[in-house]
Amino acid sequence: MNDKQIISKGGMANVRVIEAKKGWKFLDFNELKEYRDLFYFLVWRNIKVLYAQTIMGFSWAILQPLFQIIIFTIIFGRVAKISSEGVPYFLFSTVAIIPWTYMSQAMTASSQSLVTGSGMLGKIYFPRLLFPITPVLSRLVDFGISLIIVVLVMLYYRVMPTWNLVFLPFLLIMMASIPVGIGLWLSALAIRYRDVKHAMPFVVRMLIYSAPIVYSASSIPETYRFFYSLNPIVGVIEGFRACMLGSPMPWIYIWPGIITAALMVVTGVFYFRRMEQIFADVI
């Protein structure tokens, strides 16, 4: 919102102005800082509530990707015999499906965040940005737990970690920025057009084939490689594989993706901030 802190000597300290002014705004860091405790509790609530009243609890964070890995190994590895560049297919798909599961779940939750939170949206004000960003952070816990699968599978195939692991934190940031960017755009759209809710499940299902999850990136013809790697998911998946399996870091796939991801986040913030004025009116 058009809310700025005006500080001057004339006793105007601590005065906020709400104005009817349209325009593009970026982040309001002061305000976000003010609400950091709420941010913490919202993330914590999401984590706590996700598997409430389930028998398996956080085991679901392992079971869901595990079954997908098994099925993909059978279908794409055994039946379709897709090349996995000499790596056992089970290992090959494990290191891709774990980050993919995180990204797909986080972007779905983030896109729906304003609609699911519309009760709060109409009753109280806090920085609207917290809505789409909260699920992206809370899903990181699931991701962390599901990394156990990666560790176990690597132990089973006796793959030793290499120095490539130092790039992992960087890849994690890139990985989380994708659902942030998509979530900012789609949540702001979804509150006005509920079409997003219906489109999201199959778009996510399609997206899995847009990245080298069941196949390897090297099977894409070199002429299209640049356009292919503009999809930031490609860079994350290929990078993740290289990190874990010790193959050379595929920077040619990663750089274009970083640029797209950064663009999505920045434009997403601008779009979200421009649209947030009307959220409460279109619920």
């Binding site: 005065v15 009817a20 913490y40 109280i124 009307i278």
Partner: protein
């Protein structure tokens, strides 16, 4: 821009809403198919236009005719100031724009025009228990709800025991809230809200929660808030709460401020503006007035000591129930009387004419005005409904007229300590509230 002692300044604020268009339906098969194919584009335009107001111009706000029929002005050019420490009530009918105004002040929704200055930390309570999650325990929800309302974690840590104490749900703190009764949930939620300490507090009708015992606590807490020098804006339908809690009240009607002034006066204007029944009613046409060829009712009102119509009655003051009727055919058995009911429909009392000059006497044709004087310190707080009647004294079942709830008035306690409440400010029940003389005989051991 904003004076030193001003907490809120609202300048020419307008807020538009666009209501839906009328859907056109085709009644032919081909028409429906074409419609179906064209509908995505149409829908897109429709949903897009919901928040676009480029076609709204200045003239619209001044145009009472409002030819742009799908636009609603929830706020029309509103301006006012609230001083620091002032407790201001906002009243008005449903749809008068008071909730919209509160939502604009609390930043939930954005004005389309105008500017607002706010000095200090602001918290809004449009609902108790916003963000309560059923799967979380009471303890966890206190923290979650507290931070949602704008408290810091340390602040909640500090007040935690107080909050829990006030709510009275200590035993269930570690139980998920979904196992709470609705009363417990509300109590816990209100306790969190009651311990907010913003400089400016915006409240929308949250007092109507919980059981009687808890409401008492809340009202007391609310009064405390006002006395602590905090600025409060209080939107309510409860006229007696408004008169009691606020010195100043703003009356809104169709998006504009109709009146802004002392609470009792403004509440008075509101109640006499035709919303609901009023304290005075007159039947101009003798043909259609209640009654028959013997007696006709012409007017009825509640009056104060000096004979003026009285919508809001100070609980300590006396008042009169007055009716004006015309006798067309002289009788000696005509008996005026009133039935007085409270809001719950309980009959507070009947009042039968005991005037010794006329009781049982012949009443010749003519105009009669008779008043039943009710002493001060007798009625209970709240809205009372008066039904005037003239019946036949000899034949009990003949009523010449009876108009139930013909008029209504409001009894309020200004809480100055000399009413039957004493210094107690909580909720008082009872159909009547007489002021008694108390006596104590004490004998030391």
């Amino acid at each position: 821009m904003i004076g030193k002692d001003i907490a809120i300044k609202v300048e020419n604020v307008s807020k538009y809403y666009r209501i839906g268009y009328k859907e056109e339906t085709k009644d032919t098969v081909s028409g429906t198919v074409v419609e179906f194919i064209k509908s995505p584009l149409k829908n897109y335009r429709k949903y897009r236009s919901l928040y676009r107001f480029d076609d709204v111009d200045e003239t619209l706000e001044n145009d009472s005719g409002n030819n742009n029929s799908n636009i609603i002005l929830a706020s029309k050019n509103i301006s006012f100031e609230v001083k620091t420490g002032e407790v201001v009530g906002i009243i008005g009918r449903n749809g008068s724009g008071k909730s919209t105004l509160l939502k604009i002040l609390s930043k939930i929704t954005h004005p389309n025009k105008g500017r607002i200055y706010i000095r200090g930390r602001i918290s809004s309570l449009l609902e108790v228990g916003t963000g309560f999650h059923p799967e979380l325990t009471g303890r966890e929800n206190v923290y979650l709800n507290g931070t949602i309302l704008g408290m810091r974690k340390q602040e909640i840590d500090r007040k935690f025991d107080e909050i829990v104490d006030f709510s009275g749900v200590e035993k269930f703190l570690d139980t998920p809230v979904k196992r709470y009764s609705s009363g417990m949930k509300v109590r816990l939620a209100f306790s969190v809200a009651a311990h907010l300490e913003p400089e400016i507090l915006l409240i929308d009708e949250v007092l109507a929660v919980g059981d009687a015992e808890f409401q008492k606590k809340c009202l007391k807490k609310m009064e405390g808030v006002g006395q602590e020098g905090r600025t409060v804006i209080f939107v309510s339908h409860n006229m007696s709460a408004v008169t009691r809690l606020c010195q100043r009240t703003i009356l809104m009607d169709s998006g504009t401020i109709l009146e802004d002034g002392r609470s009792d006066q403004v509440v008075n204007t509101y109640l006499s503006s035709g919303s609901g029944s009023t304290a005075h009613r007159r039947w101009e046409n003798p043909e259609t007035a209640p009654g028959n060829d013997v007696v006709r009712l012409r007017a009825c009102s509640v009056v104060s000591e000096n004979g003026e119509v009285c919508e809001i009655l100070d609980i300590r003051k006396k008042c009169g129930l007055r009716m004006e009727f015309e006798v067309l055919e002289g009788r000696d058995t005509l008996l005026p009387y009133y039935n007085v009911f409270d809001q719950k429909g309980i009959r507070v009392f009947p009042a039968v004419d005991l005037d010794p000059d006329w009781r049982g006497r012949y009443r010749p044709p003519g105009r009669y005005i008779c008043t039943a004087w009710i002493p001060g310190n007798l009625l209970s707080e709240g809205r009372l409904f008066v039904g005037p009647s003239v019946k036949d004294n000899s034949q009990k079942n003949i009523k010449y007229f009876y108009v139930p709830e013909a008029i209504a008035f409001m009894v309020v306690d200004s809480m100055e300590g000399d009413s039957a409440r004493g210094d107690y400010v909580g909720r008082c029940g009872g159909a009547v509230r007489p002021l008694f003389k108390w006596e104590t005989k004490f004998s030391p051991q």
